[in-house]
Symmetry: D2
Amino acid sequence: MRFVVGVMGPAKAKKKDLENARLLGEFIARRGWVVLTGGRDVGVMDAACEGAKRVGGSLTIGIMPTVKDKVSRHVDVPIITEMGSGRNNINVLTSHVVVACGLTGSGTVSEVALAVKAGKPVILVEASPADVAFFRRLGKRLVFTASSPEEAIDLIMKQMQVHHRRVRQAEDSRYQELSM
Amino acid sequence: MRFVVGVMGPAKAKKKDLENARLLGEFIARRGWVVLTGGRDVGVMDAACEGAKRVGGSLTIGIMPTVKDKVSRHVDVPIITEMGSGRNNINVLTSHVVVACGLTGSGTVSEVALAVKAGKPVILVEASPADVAFFRRLGKRLVFTASSPEEAIDLIMKQMQVHHRRVRQAEDSRYQELSM
Amino acid sequence: MRFVVGVMGPAKAKKKDLENARLLGEFIARRGWVVLTGGRDVGVMDAACEGAKRVGGSLTIGIMPTVKDKVSRHVDVPIITEMGSGRNNINVLTSHVVVACGLTGSGTVSEVALAVKAGKPVILVEASPADVAFFRRLGKRLVFTASSPEEAIDLIMKQMQVHHRRVRQAEDSRYQELSM
Amino acid sequence: MRFVVGVMGPAKAKKKDLENARLLGEFIARRGWVVLTGGRDVGVMDAACEGAKRVGGSLTIGIMPTVKDKVSRHVDVPIITEMGSGRNNINVLTSHVVVACGLTGSGTVSEVALAVKAGKPVILVEASPADVAFFRRLGKRLVFTASSPEEAIDLIMKQMQVHHRRVRQAEDSRYQELSM
C-alpha cells in the first residue's frame, strides 16, 4: 500500500500558496508518495499535481466533485464521486497526512475540520496565527504548522514513521494472536 | 414543501449551548418549520429535537452518520446515510438556514464551512468574536450572529422571507415563459 | 420514530405502475406511515407522493439526487444529497420496507439490489416471473411479490410487525442488561 | 489521464469467477491500464488486484466501503469512502469500462445497474443467458458479453478506442472554438 499525502487549498489561491503547493507536490512525489487533491484544474489542486508530475513515475489522484468538473491535466487517476463538496470527507479519509496551502476557501476549511474529526494529522503551511489558533482549539495534537514546503515535508516524514509503526504494531499483534 | 432549519452543534456541548438548542428547537417547531439535525442521541442534535417535540405536530429529521449510531428518541424520521461525517454536506444542503449552537466541535465547524460553500445563510448563536471573524472572512454576506435563540428566530424569519421571495420570482419567470 | 416505506420505480413508468404507485402512496399514508421516494417530479416517485398527499396529515420525503433536479410538488421535505445515483443507497437504508413498482429502469434495479444487500425486505408489485426469479436468487427471504397495491400493504403490515418485534426485543435485552 | 477498468464481482465467488478475475487483472495491467475494484481482501476484488500485481509497474485502486474493512494486500491505493455500498456508484463512475465476473452478489448487480444508469459500457464474463437478458433489457447498447478474459480484453480495447475518439473530438471542438 502506498503512502498518500493530501494537498488541500483554495481554487482561487494566492500566488504564494500556489508556489508552495507546486513545490510540495514535487517534494512529495520525489519521496515516492502519492499526491491526492480535489482534482480540478484550478488553484492549489492543480498546482500540487503539476509539481508532482515534474517527477518521473509520480502518481497523482484527484477526487472529483462531479462528472462535469474539468480534471486537471496533471491528474493521473480522477476518482469520480458525483458528490460535490461531500467528496471532501473522502479526500481526508484517504490521505495519511493532510497539508493545507491557504485557508481562504470554505472548502479547505471544511477539509481541515473533517481531517481533525477523522483523527488525521494536518499541516498548515504559512497559516496566520489566528487560523492556527482556531484549528488548534479543535484538535491540539493533530494540527501542525510549517513555514515552508521543506518544513512540511519534514513533518510528513515524521507522521509517516508514526503511521508505519502503527501498521507494524497492528500486524505484530495479529501475528502473535495467530501464533498463540 | 416545508421550510427546514438545521440546528448544528457539538456532541459534547456546553450547558448553555444545549439550552439554546432546546429553545431553538421549540421556537422553530412553533412556527411550523422542520427541525433538522445530525440525528444522534447526544449534545446539540438531541437537545434541538427534544425542544421541537415539546410542540404538538412538530417534525424532526435526523441525518444519521451510520446504521449503528443511536438515534435520538426525539427524531421522527432518521435518514440513514451510512456516510459518517460525509453526511455533514447533506445536513447543510437540505437546510434552508443553518444555526450553529457552539463551535467547539470539528464536525460543526465543517458544517458551517460547507454551508458557506453551498451559499446557505448561517446563524452563529453566542459565538466568540474570534470565531465570528473566522467565518465572516469565508462568507461575509452569509454569516449572521445572534446573542439569543429569540434573536436567531428573528434572523431565520428574515431568511425565510428572502427564500420565499426567490421561489416566487422563479415561479413567476417560469409562468411568464409559459404564457409568452 | 415513524415507520418509513420507500416506493421505488422508474422515471419513465408504464401507466399501470404509476397507478399502483399512486394507490400505494395513498394506502401507506392512510396507515400513518411515511412515504419515501427519489423525490423528483416524474414517474413513480411523483405518483407515490401524489397519492400520499390525498391523505390529510401525510408526510412525504424525497431523497433528491442533486440541487438542480426539480422536486415533486407532492414532496414535503426534500433531502438534498447532491450524490446523483449514489443517493439510491440512502433511499433503501432509510426505508423499513422497499416497494418496487416497475423494474424497467436501471436505477430501480440498483435500489432493489442495494435493499437486498442491506437486508431490507423488498416487495415487487406486478413483477414478471423472470424479474422475480432474478432477485429471489440474490436474497430469497427478503424478496416478496404482490399482485396489487392492496396485497403489498398486507405484506408491509407483516414486515412492520417483524420490525417492531425486533425493536422491542432489542430494548428488552438492553433493559435486562441495565437491571442486572 | 490513465485508462481505468473496473473489475466487479462477488465477495463469495465461484472458483471460475476468481480465476477469470485474476487473469483479467493481469491482462489489464499488462496493457498499462489501471485496475479498479471494491478494494476488500476477498473474492473477485482481491483476485483481480492479485492478478494485476503479477505485472511490474501495475496500478491497483480499491474503493473501500469503510475505514474498518480490510484492504486487499494487492491494492496500491485504497480510497476510503466511508460510504458502505454507497461507494458502488463511485466504482462505476470512475471506471471507463466495467467488467463483471460473476453476478451472484447483490452488490455486483447494483454496480452493473448503476453502470448502465451512468452510460458506462459493461462486459459480463461467462454470464447466464437469463442474466444477460435481464441487463440487456436495461441498456441494450451498453451491455456486452464475453466467454473468456481474453474476449473481455478485446471488448475493452474497442471501448478504449471509442473513449479516446470521444476525448479527441471534444478537444478538437474546443480547439476550433478557441481558434474562431
